[in-house]
Amino acid sequence: MKKIKNFFSDLGSTIKNIFIPDTIILTNSKEVIPPKPMSPYIIIALIISAFYFIEVTGFDLILVIRRFDQLVPIMGRIFNPDLGYASNVVDPIFDTIQMSFLGTFMGVIFAMPVAFFASSNINKNKFLVGATKVILVFFRTYPIVVYAMILVLLFRYGTFAGTIALTIFTFSIVSKMLYEHIETIDLGAFEAMQATGSSILKSFITAILPEILPAYYSIALYSFEINIRHAAVLGYVNAGGIGMVMNDTMSLNQWEKLGTILIALFIVVFIIEYISKTIRKRLV
């Protein structure tokens, strides 16, 4: 009986200690009050949120388990690809690559001058810097699929709309990455160039550009990687590329063909990411 009582009071004080730590009294009678730990409260908050959101989203583990047997045949068919379909895949994949390349290229070019307007160490006009940054935020948070859908309305189905969408998207993320980088560089060499009698343009070309270029190329390659992946989504809204074909095969339940498409996509993405990573390592 006593043992059980002891057990519970021990448990109680351990739990209390987690939330409100006891004052520790050292051998020399000094008192140390450990700070209230945040983590237990955070964990409890997270658990409560989890339960709340489970309610809200209709999360139902049982449902998944019950319907799991519907998942298996689909996955099975995907992993049993119809390789004869491969020839239909080549053109759309090329479309996707072309779209991504062009979109990245144009986006990256537009991003450069804007990034300079947004850099506080180059552009001394605080208002302009702030305004540019705010505008860029809007571009970034606006979902790319919405751009794409509107562009498809304006320019009809096909890769052109997708390319423009990718350009805008690339522009928005590259400009941010760029100005964040530019703000970290040391402008001393720029000052030194001007002291030799060079004009601002020439000083910029010889002192600032070389400091930025490696990062610039790295960012460009990175966004190319991202864009190839996004190209699939764009196809879903008919903005061109392999996504359109994916959409068709899925609506027709042609999972084997989807498997082939995914393989092709995988190969392309893998190659591009590999090349990009190799080059980027050498750049920095």
């Binding site: 959101f53 809200v56 979902p143 919405v146």
Partner: protein, 272 residues
Amino acid sequence: MTGKLTVLEQYNNAPKLWKIKLLTFSILLFLLVWSLIGVEYQGFSDLGGEYVRRIIVSMVQPTPKYLFGLEGSRASGVPVLIIETLGIAFLGTLIGAMLSLPFAFLAARNISPRLVNFVGQFGVTGIRVFPAFVIALIFVRIVGLNAFAGVLTISITSIGMITKLFVEAIEDIDKGVVESLDASGCSALQKIRYGILPQLSNKLISTAIYRFEINIKNASILGLVGAGGIGTPLMWAVGAHRWSDASAYLIGLIITVLIVETFSTRIRAKLS
């Protein structure tokens, strides 16, 4: 070494970089021309510039009843949808993180043998192949057009990035701490609890928050396939050309993204 280097010698010593530069330039030029030819401009659609103006005008007049979730439209109002979107991202990230942990430990070079690494990496890459909307469509088929499908989709799509970042965090552990615990006679469990977990937990939480932020942004893609959150009514509105309604949902989405982004950046900065 014979004598001092002369100026003329050094002039001739210049590294001949022009070959690489020419090669790179040619490749880029080729790619550019090839892409330009491939992407066809099919001309402006019949809708034309007038329509563009209409779009813009409607977009700056968001429909109030959706924007504020007023009577009758409570369930499809922005505030409720934001909560649903947060829920999808929250649960999805949570589950995704839990699923990523085993993959990460398998793929970490300092924990598992090379062969196991390869298997782990292969698995993760396999998952990453599937674009988000493909996964979303499949789940919608299975559990229906609802937020639950969204949660499942986000869980799976999060695995790729979270695993990659987890692996980096694990491989960055300072072995010295574990060694010193070992030397003072700690059991494996104690080594994990006091040596490994403290080093990891900050980075892991930071990663999860980062992915959460990205998942909120991807809510619109989910909306395309009807997998819930604010993305779904947004996409329906855009698809049906109801620009004012779309604008209301867009504003909701953008505000949510901004708030999450700000908090995320602050918390992650504090963690590092």
